[in-house]
């Protein structure tokens, strides 16, 4: 299993697209700086800076990245015939899928940490650390601010992983990488629209990507946080098991 996860890293780190993605993240994190130049607002400082792009990163950038990544490591891996070669090694099929899932999880945590560093780095470099941590009109101590930021960033990998499991399920049933990307992205945008227009938000996984409101909400009512965790876990596990059932029975003809 460790060997399988190592292999995924080896492939990722030799993939040029990954470095383009890191560059894209850098550009996104520079965006608020550009905004302040345009609208001349000066409420930003280094401590709040990471949270300014957090919503965009977790609700759009990361889910889309996951879709492209999983289409590549699952669907394209199969279509290129390479997955078959993994299967004829002494590893079982459930280990192969589980290793891919664990790899996605590790990668998500790494990327969220990378984003966190980018946020603090750029924020402090441009604006300095600043004196207070203002968030949604409320003021917190610097220490609470740092805690809130780190917890939000790291906890976002859980709902994203659950979404990744859903994408994995799509990726094992479709016949092309483009279809995996198209269908998953289509469903993502559809549920973003649903979330905006209807009341069924709590039943949509994308509702949970931006973890900040849930972390803040937990100060008021811890129960909502627990019910969120239950929903995310059930969603993820459902698609994990569906993926396993399909993948274990699948005939590898490529």
């Amino acid at each position: 299993m460790i060997g399988l996860i190592k292999n995924e890293w080896l492939k990722l780190l030799n993939n040029k697209k990954f470095y383009w993605f890191l560059l894209l993240l850098l550009i996104i994190y520079l965006f608020p700086v550009l905004m302040t130049l345009v609208v001349r607002m000066n409420t930003l400082n280094g401590q709040v800076y990471p949270l300014t792009v957090f919503g965009v990163i977790t609700s759009f950038v990361m889910p889309l990245f996951l879709i492209v990544l999983i289409a590549e490591i699952v669907t394209e891996d199969y279509l290129s015939g390479n997955l078959s070669h993994t299967i004829i090694q002494p590893v079982t099929r459930w280990q192969i899928i589980t290793a891919k899932v664990l790899f996605v999880f590790l990668l998500l945590i790494t990327l969220m940490l990378f984003c966190l560093l980018l946020g603090y780095g750029i924020g402090c470099f441009i604006f300095g650390w600043g004196t207070d941590f203002m968030l949604r009109g409320a003021s917190y101590t610097s220490l609470t601010g740092v805690k809130l930021t780190i917890i939000s960033y790291l906890s976002a990998s859980l709902p994203l992983l659950a979404f990744g499991l859903f994408v994995t399920f799509i990726a094992v049933i479709v016949q092309s990488g483009a279809a995996a990307v198209g269908i998953s992205a289509g469903i993502l945008f559809f549920s973003i629209m649903l979330e905006l227009l209807t009341e069924i938000g709590p039943f949509l996984i994308n509702n949970y990507f931006n973890t900040l409101p849930f972390i803040l909400g937990a100060f008021v009512n811890p129960m909502t946080l627990i019910s969120s965790i239950v929903f995310i876990s059930c969603f993820g596990l459902l698609f994990y098991f569906l993926t396993l059932v399909i993948f274990i029975r699948k005939d590898m003809v490529l």
Binding site: L4, K11, G81, H85, P90, T92
Partner: protein
């Protein structure tokens, strides 16, 4: 037959309504080179995929090295190497990295082994080049290198000569000889009958998913007749002259020659017979009764049924 390394019994597989494998029974002994022959679409690749656990059979059982593939997959597959169709690699990774991916999945393997197999297949100089830059022949050899990585007891090669130029074919063939000398059992599929004839001890022939012949190569090729090709300017006269001759079984006119099937050893009578009749002979060539002829014969028999 000695110790049995691969045993397939009553294997069947259908894709939709299409029966691709039907009641396949095969035994491959330790150390032999087994040829699996059949025309395009006969089910050769499908059989290899089933044996490697890539495709689930509808029925039947597969034992590799004594382990049941369905119930003890990891033990069964542990010492198996395979190149299925044209070997696939990650083009953005180097040859070495592509092999590292396999090494990482075998706990007992050491990194040095990668260098060893690259050396053996003559790719050591290109070890750190991206596979995307490799020629087909090099990929085929890298495929064999990868199949050798885990000290396999049996290697499956699916059409190993496919698409190779004569030089590549010679290289792969000598590699096969080398492996056989190491005592590695080989299972080779092909429709290049003449290649199989050169390297295999035993063969099976599959057609439309059913095995139509199986056995020792020399036994299968043993025959009580021989075929000669006669080149002459007097094709028709020669043809007529041979019509009533007792030791001639069959005579067919080719474009510029005659193909004569006759009793074994009777060619020495045939030549004086024709010379006596003042027929002008240019060449008389003994055609080795090849697997190809055998295969055609079987195929046509099957077709007539």
């Amino acid at each position: 037959m000695g110790e049995c390394l691969l045993e397939i019994s009553q294997l069947g597989k259908t894709f939709g309504k299409h029966k691709v494998l039907h009641n396949v029974n095969l035994k491959v002994a330790k150390g032999e080179v087994f040829g699996f022959l059949g025309p395009n679409g006969a089910g050769k690749t499908t059989l290899i995929r089933v044996v490697l656990g890539l495709i689930r059979p509808d029925c039947g059982s597969i034992l590799i090295n004594g382990f049941n593939l369905q119930t003890n997959f990891r033990r069964a597959i542990e010492h198996v190497g395979a190149v299925v169709e044209t070997p696939k690699f990650y083009p953005q990774l180097t040859a070495y990295q592509n092999l590292l991916l396999v090494k990482n999945l075998h706990r007992s393997l050491h990194k040095n082994r990668i260098g060893e197999v690259l050396e053996l297949t003559g790719l050591i100089a290109r070890a750190h080049d991206k596979v995307g830059t490799f020629s087909l022949g090099m990929k085929q050899r890298l495929g064999i290198a990868r199949a050798l990585l885990n000290y396999p007891k049996i290697i499956f090669l699916d059409e190993p000569m496919n698409g190779l130029d004569p030089q590549g074919i010679i290289e792969v063939r000598s590699l096969i000889h080398h492996l056989r000398q190491q005592g590695i059992t080989l299972f080779i599929t092909s429709h290049l009958l003449h290649e199989v004839e050169q390297v295999c001890d035993r063969i099976a022939i599959i057609k439309n998913g059913t095995i139509i012949a199986q056995g020792n190569l020399t036994d299968l090729l043993r025959s009580d007749c021989e075929v000669v090709e006669i080149y002459t300017k007097d094709i028709l006269e020669t043809y007529n002259a041979l019509a009533g001759v007792a030791f001639v079984h069959k005579c067919t006119i080719n474009q510029s020659s005659l193909l004569v099937e006759l009793d074994k050893g009777s060619t020495e009578h045939l030549i004086p017979f024709l010379v006596r009749r003042n027929l002008h002979l240019q060449y008389v060539i003994l055609r080795k009764y090849s697997l190809e002829d055998f295969f055609m014969q079987l195929a046509s028999k099957e077709g007539n049924l």
